[in-house]
């Protein structure tokens, strides 16, 4: 095991493929979990393929690399130990042709017929601009049989302007017996695109994997790049990043709270919360020059500093938000009709959430105490003592409450950050042509975002941005069971997972 330098405790280790299942079980037994799974093609360097897995073990990241042969790359299935591995394994097979032996689900995941089954676009001998004739491939949804059971296919094109995803409901009457998701409609080949970029250009792409988490993704990417370069950014830059991350969290939570009201039929909530969100975005634009804070976090620090006027605007907004949220929260809490929709709807029990490895906001609403700001508490969160907001009910109401409480906590954090933020420069330059590997691990508003980066000669060899939606999408399938069909949009919105981030 070699320790990787940088802002978060991380280790890198090589493992033999035969030892992987035992290793996974040991990690699971010690309360660890699978954080990300990806692969790499090293054949042009005389190696074979490699399977990469990142595990969270006792508040640190363990990056396990397993060398696989160039011919017939196989590894033992991980999904029996970590159920969330299933879709990642299927994506890995589609992109690189690395197969999990003994996996129970042989269907493709990201491959929808845009390339044939024997082509693997992430392999290095496939040019980035390769195209194949588009073919329609049937996808075998799991059938549910019984008296009066029928299927409703929904999507990928929806009546509203939302991301594309297909949901196949098996229902009897209005009751959902089974939901099966099919995602991958926004697969963009981001991992492949990274390989043609240098470290600086990669930062922009990392910030665009899922636009609503741009600060979190670009911070995680910057963390990985700084780990490789052996550079510590100026302290003020780290505090600025935390400020931006908390503002991103507030903006997204506000938007979600509005939509949750709207999906419950209370359009008043949408109007009010969208107004608040818009205020947050405008102050962002005024202070940092971008509404969603894109490209603010760059390897080596922050792209720009925030002046006194910006700081004052943040503080003023904290007070205004607190006042308005107190009123709006009491309206939501006291609205019998809305609470009737929220309570006991879409329950994800803590036991099931633990089994499925659910993380982030949805995990915390089901009692899963994962928050990278609390452990490992990367700088500057080690000086801020973030209070984790946990609920155990795991229903829509719990996810709403968790959002309200996390906004309160973020407001407290912003005040503390502004108070303690040191002066000084906000950016250092990264030394040219670094090589090596680094990890980034940041708690975005949706959950943890992990970036694994490998460079040589200043260029990206392999970069994988892992969105928490990989872990949480399957949990939605379970949370819906037994609920009625018209409650699905509300349950879905309470998770609000990223399509783009997981379809990469």
């Amino acid at each position: 095991m070699t320790a990787l330098p940088g802002a978060v405790p991380a280790w890198h280790a090589l493992a033999e493929s035969g030892r992987l299942p035992d290793l996974a079980r040991t990690i699971a037994d010690r309360g660890g979990r699978l954080a990300a799974l990806w692969g790499a093609d090293g054949r042009e360097r005389g190696a074979g393929f490699a399977l990469h897995a990142a595990f969270v073990v006792e508040a640190s990241l363990a990056w396990i690399e397993v060398a696989l042969p160039a011919e017939r790359p196989r590894y033992a299935d991980l999904s029996s130990t970590f159920p969330c591995a299933d879709r990642m394994q299927r994506a890995l097979r589609d992109l690189l042709g690395i197969e999990a032996e003994g996996a129970h689900d042989p269907r493709p995941w990201l491959r929808h017929g845009a390339w044939p089954a024997d082509a693997h676009p992430l392999r290095r001998d496939v040019p980035a601009d390769a195209t194949w004739p588009n073919q329609v491939e049937p996808y075998a949804f799991v059938p549910v049989e019984g008296d009066g059971v029928h299927e409703i296919p929904v999507g990928p094109v929806h009546a509203g302007i939302i991301e594309p995803g297909h949901f196949r409901f098996s229902i009897v009457g209005e009751k959902v017996l089974r939901l099966e998701q099919r995602l991958g409609y926004v697969h963009k080949g981001i991992d492949k695109r990274f390989e043609s970029m240098d470290v600086a250009a990669g930062a922009r792409l990392a910030g665009r994997v899922s636009g609503d988490s741009t600060v979190a993704s670009s911070w995680a990417y910057a963390m990985a790049a700084e780990s490789i370069a052996g550079v510590t950014p100026p302290t003020r830059a780290l505090w600025l990043r935390a400020l931006a991350l908390e503002r991103e969290r507030i903006a997204n939570h506000l938007g979600d709270l509005g939509y949750l009201g709207n999906d419950g039929g209370l359009a008043f909530g949408l109007a009010q919360f969208m107004r608040l969100k818009e205020d947050v975005l405008r102050v962002n634009a005024q202070a940092f020059g971008h509404r969603y804070l894109m490209d603010l976090v760059v390897p080596g620090g922050a792209a720009r500093d925030c002046d006194r006027a910006g700081i004052d605007a943040f503080l003023g907004q904290c007070t205004a938000l607190e006042r308005e949220l107190r009123v709006l929260r009491s309206i939501y809490d006291d609205h019998a009709g809305l609470q009737d929709r929220f309570l006991t709807c879409g329950i994800l029990s803590p036991d099931l959430a633990a089994k499925l490895g659910v993380i982030g906001l949805a995990g915390r609403a089901s009692g899963q105490p994962w928050d990278a700001r609390v452990a490992p508490a990367f700088e500057p969160y080690d000086r801020l003592a973030v209070a984790m907001k946990l609920a155990r009910a795991g229903d829509v109401a719990a996810r709403v409450t968790t959002r309200f409480e996390e906004i309160d906590e973020s407001i407290r954090l912003i005040r503390a950050i502004v108070e303690q933020m040191p002066g000084g420069p906000v950016r250092t330059s990264l030394p040219a042509a670094p090589g090596g590997r680094g990890l980034g691990w940041v708690e975005g508003w949706r959950g943890e975002i992990i970036v694994a980066l490998e460079c040589s000669g200043g260029r990206i060899r392999r970069c994988h941005v892992h969105d928490p939606s990989w872990q949480n999408w399957p949990a939605l399938e379970h949370a819906v069971i037994g609920n009625i069909v018209p409650d699905f949009p509300l349950i879905n919105k309470s998770f609000n997972l990223s399509y783009s981030g997981a379809d990469i």
Binding site: H158, A159, G265, A267, L338, D340, V485
Partner: protein
């Protein structure tokens, strides 16, 4: 005997209903927007939508049968007939002998059956989902509506709406407790029947939660225009039933030509107030879970039956 003034009243009333109905929908939407601090789409938006839809080419599923094509016309015609027998300006309506209060409920049911059949005709999942839910709402709402109309009929000793309204309007000012219960029941039924919050949400884009909108998803162009127009007419007709039974003051009685001059502004005023109230109800309520709808409509039915009992016990 058909009087000339009656014919004039009948024609005016029908034309008014057809022309004013989209304005009422526009007014409700405008009020909803105002209540949400939005500037709103403007009062004339429904007219523009209808004009736009009539100018478009219709796209029809290849497996659509004649039911699908004719349903919009049938639904629109049903709403026309309903608009013709509900007194809005005058009670001297020659056409009202064609159908009484019971037939009115039947006319609404006929429209419902056709639109549901059309929804299932193309065979999409959402169409049948919506049709199923619409039928559930319908079979619970219709009895409650009948009970409300019966209460009014018992008070006036007639099932003809025109006669009922005429007698109610002519009565000395008297408080009927039965009508208070019936009024609450009628409001609940109207919300459900017109696909309003808390039962359905006319503004939603969430296809899985739709009732009325799910049934008309496959329609486009002139068919959709007629369905939208018919939906506006239905809201207008329901509002007018409510107004003429519970607040009939100002309606022109018999063959009084001058009465029109009072009746029209009175009607417009009452519709404006009613539309604003509807917007308030829709703004402060959340949409309920679909299986709360039977409880909601069950309550409406119970209130309507109570109204009948109260009439029988206290007012005879």
């Amino acid at each position: 005997m058909i009087s000339w003034s009656g014919v004039v009243a009948q024609v005016t009333e029908l034309a008014l209903a057809v022309l004013l109905a989209p304005l009422l929908t526009g007014w409700v939407n405008q009020c909803r927007a105002w209540l949400q601090n939005k500037s709103g789409p403007g009062l004339l938006r429904p007219y523009r939508t209808i004009r736009k839809l009539f100018a478009k080419d219709a796209v029809i599923a290849t497996n659509a049968s004649a039911v699908f094509r004719t349903a919009p016309y049938v639904v629109f015609a049903c709403m026309l007939v309903a608009a013709a027998i509900v007194p809005t300006l005058a009670t001297d309506l020659p056409f009202s002998i064609a159908a009484d209060a019971i037939a009115l409920v039947g006319i609404f049911a006929l429209a419902r059956v056709f639109i549901s059949l059309a929804a299932m005709d193309v065979g999409t999942a959402f169409g049948s989902l919506g049709a199923r839910r619409e039928m559930m709402i319908g079979f619970l709402a219709e009895p409650a509506l009948l009970m409300v109309l019966f209460t009014a009929s018992l008070i006036s000793q007639s099932t003809s709406l025109a006669t009922t309204v005429e007698r109610l309007a002519r009565m000395e000012f008297a408080i009927f407790p039965s009508l208070a219960f019936a009024g609450v029941a009628f409001t609940m039924v109207s919300l459900a029947e017109n696909a309003r919050i808390p039962v359905d949400n006319p503004a939603t884009h969430l296809e899985l939660t739709m009732i009325h909108e799910a049934m008309v998803l496959e329609y486009s162009a002139r068919h959709l225009a007629l369905i939208e127009w018919a939906a506006s007419l239905k809201l207008f007709v329901y509002s007018c039933i409510g107004i003429s039974i519970f607040f009939p003051f100002g309606i022109s009685q018999g063959g009084d030509p001058l009465g029109f001059a009072y009746a029209l502004p009175a009607l417009v005023f009452k519709l404006a107030v009613g539309g604003a109230l509807l917007a308030v109800i829709e703004t402060v309520s959340a949409k309920m879970r679909i299986f709360r709808a039977p409880e909601f409509l069950g309550t409406a039915f119970m209130l309507a039956v109570l109204a009948l009992l109260i009439h029988a016990l206290l007012e005879t």
